[in-house]
Every structure is written in C-alpha cells, then in structure tokens.
Amino acid sequence: MSDASPATPLDPEGLAALTNLARLELPDAERAALGEHLGRILGWVAELDSVETEGVSPSQHDAPRTTESLRPDAVRPSLERERALLNAPARDPLGFLVPRVVSE
C-alpha cells in the first residue's frame, strides 16, 4: 500500500489540484470545510487497508456476457443535428457555442 491514507484534512494545494481536475470552482469560504470533510471520508475509506487482497484480481462487475454484448456492426440512423442541439444552453443552427478557445 502507498502512503495514501490522509485521515487529516486535505491540504489547500491538494484541494486546489482536485477542484481543477474535477472542474468545480469552489468559493474560498467553502474550501476549509470541504478539505476537512474529504479528509474525514478518506480516513474512513482507508479502513479498507485492513482487508487482505493479496492475489485478488480487481472486479468491475462480474459475469461479463460478451456473446450477448455484441451486435451487428451496422450503420443506423443517429440523432439529427437540430434535435441534438435542442437542449443546448447556447447554440446557433450549426452547433454548440463556446467561449473563444483560440486567439485571433
């Protein structure tokens, strides 16, 4: 096992890296409480360290049924653009609108 058992609060740098990865902009006022909370849960989850798992292979979900999971590789109708755009918060007739990502 690694050293990843922080029963102590997540430090501000760690939390900043995490909120960036998760794309969640957190108000400064909430950071301390959240860091403490996550530390508490992670400390509790670290109880799993006491379970012996030597030689056990990880499980996503058991009993995969690959033969029934396959379907013919055939082209089928897909969503029309107009309908795909219906729930977009900002759009024009051609696509989704986003802030400029390349400079002029």
Binding site: L24, E47, T53, A63, L86, P89, A90
Partner: protein, 498 residues
C-alpha cells in the same frame, strides 16, 4: 370513484374487461395527486395532458377490439432520473432544470408498451445521491406515515407515492439501496433486480456498474407483474441480458402456488449488531417466526466483509460518478454560467453553480480516488475488495435459498436529522450497498412496524438471492408476504381508511 388503494393487477384487469377506462383511472389519479401530494411532495411534476392522451389512445384501442397489455391503463410514476421524451427530466438537480429528453428510457418505454400511463416524475436525492430525498432543489418528500420524517432515498418520491396511494406502481433506481431502503421506510415493496436484467438506457447515470432500475409497489404480485414487463435484453444497453430460460411472464408464473415450505433462509449473523434500532430487529425475528410457521427453515449464516461494504461502495460509486457527471459541462445541455471568461472557467463555474453540495463532495472524492498517485491505494483496492464481497455472498448463499435481514438498520428518521453528517447518512445503507457491489437481486417487503414516538413506522425485511434467480426470489418474497399476513393499514390523513 377512488382507485387509490387498488393493485395494479386489479386496475389493469378492470380496464381490459371494460369495467372502467384508462381515462377514468388517469383522472382519478391526477385528482388524488392534486388533493394530497401537497402534504407529501412526491411528484416534481405531473403530465396531465400527456397522460390523458395516452389513456384515450388505450381506451380507443380497446374499443377497436385490440387486446391490451399487462399494465392496461395503470397509472405509474417515474423517478425523475429516468428520461421521458419531451417531459422535463431533472434528476432532482438545478443542472438539468428545463431539460427535455429526446427519448424515453427503455424501462419507461417498456411500461408504455404494456399500456401503462405515465402520470409524472417523482422526487429523488440529486442524481440519486442520498438516502433521504431531502437534498434536492425542489424540497423534501415526506414520509406518508409521519410527515416529520424522511421517506428514505434516493427513490423517496417513488416509495412515498406508492405508500401514500397516489399510484400503485412506480419506477425507481437502486445504486446502493435507493429502491429498497425507501420501500422499507415507507412500507412498500421494492425490488432491485440482478444487474443486467433491466435496461439502464435513459437512466441518468450515477455509477454505471451499480445502477439498476426496478419497481416499487404495494404487493409482491404487483412487483412481479411489473418485472415481467421490465426485464429483458436491450440493444441500447450492452450490459443487459435476457433472463436465462425465461417464459413469457416468468415472475407471475413463479408466484403461482408460491410457498415457503421446505425453503431455507439464511439469517445474516453480522446484521444483528449493525441494526441500530432494536424494534427493527424484533420485526425481523417476527418475520422469521412466521416463515418457520409456514414451513421454512432458518439458519444463521455469516457474511464476511459486511462492514467493508460501505467504504468500498463510497470509492467505487464516487469514482464512477465523477466520470459520469463529467458530461455536465455547461455546453451540450444543462446549466451554463452566465459570467465566465474562458472555456475552463465556463465549465468549472457552471458545475459549481448547479451541482448541490453532496454531489460536489462525491465528484471530488471520486476524482481523488482516480487521481494519479492514489488510484492503486483507493480505486484498485476497492475493486479487489468488491470481488471478495461477491465471493462472500456466494459462500453465504451456499445451501440456502436466500439471505434474510433488515433492509435498513433503523426506521424513518426525522427530516434534517442526518443531513449535516454525511457519514451517518452513508451508514443507513449498510445492508443494501453490498448487493449492488455483488450484482445480486434483492427485495424489500413490509414486515410490521415500530412506534418510537407513538406513530407506527414501517419496517422492511430484505431477501437477497443468487444472480439471475429473480423470479424464484420474488416467489420466496410472496411466500413470506403471505406468511406474515400483515393487517392492511394506511397512512392517516390521506383518505381511504379501508
């Protein structure tokens, strides 16, 4: 005419025979929701226009001599994390306010194809993340038996609507107990089918390897009727498969002549000390006495790793949630922040503005356990423990027909009581999460009540079976339901004290 407390089977039979019409049932259902749901807060929205037009189409087909489906005219409520074409579907989140799906979830489509009438959408914890149905932006749902208490969650609206006589059948989803725990707390039947038997297509994803869609009803027979419709392989969900060796209505068929005689129930030893409320355990023991009297044998069995299930679940479910909820970016659909500079800020701000605190906590936890440097210690470790939990179930189920124990360690708790302590809230799922980790079928059915403050609160007993043995599990549940022969009681103040 009130149909509030009639079974789905009886209502469908009346519509098929012409004794009543789908329109009459729909109108009565909508009127009852209008009259009593202000007290309960089950429905986030009803769809009177869509429901009446569907009902009229069903009645017209009957008039034309067509044979109607198994759920002819039966009003159903749908948890609001299941997509309904053109009908707003929010998953109880600000993120999806105003979202109108382009298609029906497969489970909803199957109900409609069996001539059920979708009445509206039911309250839940945001994205299914909770055990009390008090986290959502639309306010709490209240327990029909005591309106100061929670209905459980996350399918709290689905359970309270059935227990309160608003609909005879609702759809819920169960990622760690979200059908069974509210069913227990509201005094109805809730089934979590084996993973892969009911399509997840159109279920707004929380944790894809754990999420299962299932029915909530007031009787095991109605649950079987619904499962006959819901279960089956779906090309739109590659994790589904057909029930092995299934006849056309395997669940209803399994219930015919169902009896506990000669059946063996395994009482999970570890559950006793994890049951917070002594009255809950007494109710389970009374259920065991009834089962013995009906000819069943009860054995104590041991289920290893019971206490490891919740931490394992927290790691696996939040990891999957952090990935699944990555789709909410403020661009393709859902909430978009108005004040944002670049595209990263647009995403981060949209998500921060629209996700509630519990959802944010889980996304962050899931991001952490998947992040470089921590993946092996948390996520990989949890996946290994998950495999061992499945093995522990296989061992416990050896030589018994089903495992039995309480569904929830305590009856319905007060609104707000556990809201500030997420760890205490997670502990509520101690008897339910492990079945999702193992992919097994489980059912919660009413097993009496406790009266902590003079008000009777329902207690649920859970039966857990082998994977894909769902019809046999329902038959056991029907046997236990008959053996218990609970008196018909109904929540006070909601009409129809029969």
């Amino acid at each position: 005419m009130s149909y509030a407390w009639e079974s789905a089977a009886s209502l469908a039979a009346q519509v098929r025979s012409g004794e009543t019409t789908a329109r009459a049932l729909t109108e009565a259902c909508l009127a009852r929701i209008e009259a009593v749901d202000g007290e309960l807060g089950c429905f986030l929205r009803t769809d009177a226009e869509g429901a009446l037009s569907a009902a009229d189409a069903i009645d017209a087909r009957r008039a034309a001599g067509e044979e109607l489906g198994a759920l002819a005219g039966v009003p159903v409520g749908v948890k609001d994390n299941l997509c309904t074409e053109g009908l707003e579907t929010t998953a109880g989140s600000r993120m999806l306010r105003g979202h109108r799906p382009l298609f029906d979830a497969s489970a909803v489509a199957r109900l409609k194809a069996a001539d059920a009438v979708v009445i509206g959408k039911l309250n839940l914890d945001e994205f299914g993340m909770g055990s009390s149905t008090e986290h959502g932006p639309d306010g709490p749902t209240r327990n029909p038996w005591d309106r100061t208490r929670v209905p459980g969650g996350s399918s709290g609206g689905s359970a309270a609507a059935v227990a309160g006589g608003l609909v005879p059948l609702s759809l819920g989803s169960d990622t760690g107990g979200s059908i069974r725990q509210p069913a227990a707390l509201c005094g109805c039947v809730g089934v979590k089918p084996s993973y892969g038997l009911v399509s997840r297509s159109g279920l707004i994803a929380f944790a894809s390897s754990l999420d299962v869609v299932g029915p909530l009803t007031r009787s095991v027979a109605d649950a079987a009727l619904a499962l006959d419709v819901l279960v089956g392989a779906d090309p739109a969900d590659m994790t589904t498969h057909a029930l092995p060796g299934a006849s056309p209505a395997p669940f209803s068929a399994a219930l015919e002549g169902a009896s506990l005689k000669g059946k063996v129930l395994g009482l999970v030893r570890e559950y006793r000390e994890l049951t917070e409320d002594a009255g809950v355990w007494s109710a389970v023991e009374a259920a065991l006495d009834a089962a013995r009297a009906a000819g069943a044998e009860v054995r104590e069995v041991s289920l290893d790793l019971t206490s490891a299930a919740i931490p394992t679940y927290q790691v696996v479910s939040t990891a999957e949630a952090s990935s699944n909820l990555g789709r909410y970016d403020g661009i393709h659909y859902g909430h978009r922040a108005q004040e944002a500079g670049d595209i990263v800020q647009l995403m981060s701000r949209s998500r921060a503005e629209a996700f509630g605190p519990e959802v944010q906590r889980r996304i962050l936890l899931g991001t952490f356990v998947l992040s470089s440097g921590f993946y092996d210690a948390y996520y990989l470790k949890a996946q290994k423990v998950r495999r061992q939990i499945a093995a522990a179930f296989a061992q416990a189920l050896e030589g018994v027909d089903a495992l039995i124990g309480p569904t929830s360690p305590l009856p319905a708790f007060k609104l707000g009581e556990r809201e500030q302590d997420p760890l205490a809230m997670y502990a509520v799922d101690v008897f339910t999460v492990s079945t999702n980790l193992a992919g097994l079928p489980a059912i919660s059915l009413p097993a009496g009540s406790v009266s902590p403050e003079g008000t009777a609160l329902p207690v649920g007993v859970q039966l857990t079976g082998r994977r894909d043995s769902d019809p046999a599990l329902l038959a056991l549940a029907a046997g236990l339901e008959a053996a218990l022969a609970l008196p018909t009681t109904r929540p006070a103040g909601l009409g129809g004290q029969a």
